[in-house]
């Protein structure tokens, strides 16, 4: 909480220093619900870092509607009830005209209906599960759903690497990895790939030898994995230890698109393929500035959660400006029309409030601990 209050204070302070005239105004405050504590807080903290970095820039450039923009953070701790409480606080108590977050798709399934009930736009930056925006007409998301990314990855693997037979592994006890699997399964069928076996594991498992031994005996061309960092790195290590050849690539979902993977799996991570609208070494100038600023401010590398949050804040700020007033209904209408060119590439919403543009998606492969575009 101390950190949260500090962040708020810092944000307003920054606004005062950089935007003299605007400082006189009470800030326009929007809400954000993220996992700031607990076992999954690395996602929430990265997102908050992304927001704060962008917020600084927005306020340096004069804020919105002649006033600084501020974010009131609420911690969900990854707990659905706490996320619900947070949303009700923000809507009923702080009367925010817009909510950013929450971090997990599960939390959005709980919180979304409340925002819809109160007609407050809510913008997920990391909620990639299927059916998120179907919750209601006020639920937006800026993260490309897995269903937009995974087919690109698999198609590229098929075309460039000649993958025909795949084995599938997914974490079945987590909504994120399970919905990632659902998307993979559909894409595999659509591309006409053969699935030799489908194996599951638990998010906290460390032993994958039984599943991989079985997979090894079935000789697939690639292993398609829907996992978060921990299990994903474990799978890569076990794959190497069991002597599955490097030519059998691991094709991952969003969960494997993390700088943590090579930190743990080291050389075993080489060859991993993921699709993403963003990766840290993306060469354009906007991204290089973002990465440099982020490193300078937080002394660590940004991940895609931070990048998505960074872009989202600009999109939201734009919408508030376009709306002309901090009014939920007007902001919602304006959001639908925003066009933004950020570190993730060109962005706009579909009529169903999902990201419209998938042209930014590239397939990247791990080489020597870094992602680079698959040639």
């Amino acid at each position: 909480m101390i950190t949260r209050r500090f962040a708020l204070a810092a944000a307003s302070l920054a606004a005062m220093v950089y935007a003299g005239a605007a400082a006189a105004q009470t800030p326009v405050t929007i809400g954000a619900i993220e996992i700031l504590t607990g076992p999954n807080n690395k996602y929430g903290v990265a997102i908050k870092n992304g927001f704060d970095l962008a917020l600084e820039e927005v306020n340096k450039a004069g804020g919105v509607l002649g006033a600084p923009l501020a974010i009131a953070y609420e911690d969900s701790a990854g707990n659905k009830d706490q996320a619900l409480n947070a949303a009700r606080q923000l809507i009923g108590g702080k009367k925010v005209p817009l909510i950013l977050g929450p971090t997990l798709s599960n939390e959005m399934f709980a919180v979304g209906p409340i925002a819809v009930e109160r007609k407050i736009p809510i913008v997920g930056t990391s909620t990639t599960a299927n059916g998120i925006t179907a919750i209601g007409p006020y639920v937006f998301r800026t993260s490309l759903p897995e269903s937009d990314v995974v087919p690109v990855t698999l198609r590229t693997a098929k075309e460039k690497l000649g993958v025909k037979k795949v084995a599938v592994m997914y974490g079945n006890d987590d909504a994120f990895t399970k919905s990632g699997y659902d998307v993979m399964k559909a894409a595999i069928e659509k591309l006409g790939l053969e699935t030799v076996t489908t194996e599951t594991f638990g998010g906290k498992d460390t032993d994958f030898s039984a599943q991989l031994t079985k997979i090894k005996s079935l000789n697939p061309d690639a292993i398609v994995v829907s996992a978060l960092v921990e299990a994903g790195a474990g799978i890569l290590l076990a794959k190497k230890a069991l002597g599955i050849p490097d030519s059998v690539r691991v094709i991952g979902g969003n969960g494997l698109n993390s700088p943590q993977v090579p930190l743990v799996a080291r050389e075993a991570a080489d060859g991993t393929l993921v699709g993403s609208p963003w990766f840290i070494d993306k060469p354009d100038a906007a991204n290089q500035k973002f990465v440099a600023d982020y490193k300078a401010k937080y002394n660590m590398d940004p991940d895609q959660f931070a990048a998505q949050a960074y872009d989202t804040l600009f999109i939201v700020a734009q919408a508030i400006k376009d709306a002309g007033a901090p009014n939920a209904e007007k902001i919602r209408d304006a959001l639908g029309k925003v066009k933004h060119n950020g570190v993730m590439g060109p962005f706009s919403f579909t009529p169903d409030r999902d990201p419209a543009d998938t042209s930014g998606v590239v397939v990247i492969e791990m080489k020597g601990g870094k992602f680079q575009i698959l040639k």
Partner: protein, 292 residues
């Protein structure tokens, strides 16, 4: 493939056994289910991690970290359980107190160390797998299997043969009578805590080496499996813990390999429930009778 799966099962099973040994020893002698036990596993792994990061050889870091975990175990036992023993509190009180302590310790560890997954520095141990007749096994895995076997033999020898074992068994069966017989109960309690904490710490280092995944909550995950193993083996039964660990590990691996990996984690708990229904005293049938 079958042979490889058997080896996989043997490794997983030895891991469980290694973990369950100290757990069941604690129950067998001290008569409490000490839920903080899993935490000593995390302690061992992290201490060894920090030591090796500072250039200490793993062969030195392993025993030091294990022993340090043992000391933590003695400390926690002294803080939490000794007062309860003195007050002759019911056994469930100690179960609850260690439950609360577990929650506390893991939350603090998560806050201090973050939940990021970590790994030993490269080259602390030869990570390349040996390949014998198509079966691959790493050095660490051999070490785990050997450790489980050796530790069980030593424990059985101590409990049944050595002089100190007599005192331990007396303490287990009649704590008050043991005191009358001149057994220094306090010292023995500390010794048992030290021994089981050390076992937990050592298994933490080995597990961390084998799976390359060190996290504060690694002990918590192991703990749930640990319950199944010690019940199946019979609470307090050392030989039972070894066999049950191997059985659970093997069955899990075979379930994942030949039935469905989604049911792998259910194996241990189904065995637990079956044991309670059919033979609550565990595989070797030495029932931990309630003390009147």
């Amino acid at each position: 493939m079958f042979a490889q799966q058997l080896v996989n099962g043997l490794v997983v099973g030895s891991t469980y056994a290694l973990f369950a040994l100290g757990f069941t020893l604690m129950f067998g002698v001290l008569g409490v289910i000490n839920l903080t036990y899993g935490f000593y596993l995390s302690v061992g792994a992290f201490l060894a991690l920090f030591a090796t990061q500072h250039g200490v050889s793993i062969w030195l870091a392993l025993p030091l970290a294990a022993l340090a975990s043992g000391c933590v175990a003695v400390l926690i036992d002294g803080l939490l359980l000794t007062p309860l023993r003195r007050a002759k509190a019911p056994e469930l009180a100690s179960l609850m107190v260690t439950l609360g302590a577990t929650l506390l310790l893991y939350s603090l560890a998560n806050a201090a160390l973050s939940t990021d997954i970590r790994r030993f520095p490269p080259g602390v141990i030869d990570a390349n797998a040996l390949e014998i007749a198509g079966i691959r096994i790493t050095m660490t895995q051999c070490l785990i299997i050997a450790a489980a076997g050796i530790i069980v033999s030593v424990l059985l020898w101590v409990m049944n043969g050595a002089r100190i074992g007599l005192g331990l068994r007396a303490l287990a069966e009649r704590p008050d009578a043991a005191a009358l017989m001149g057994v220094n109960a306090g010292a023995l309690v500390r010794l048992v805590s030290l021994a089981s904490g050390t076992l937990a710490g050592a298994s933490g280092v080995l597990i961390g080496l084998n799976y390359n995944a060190i996290q504060p909550y690694m002990g918590e995950v192991m703990m749930l499996k640990g319950f199944a193993v010690i019940i199946l083996g019979g609470l307090g039964d050392i030989r039972g813990a070894l066999v049950a660990g191997l059985v659970v590990g093997m069955l899990e691996t075979l379930t994942a390999g030949y039935v469905a990996s989604s049911w792998k984690d259910a194996v241990g708990f189904v065995l637990l429930v079956l044991t309670l229904w059919i033979r609550p005293s565990g595989l070797f049938g030495r029932l931990a009778v309630k003390r009147a």
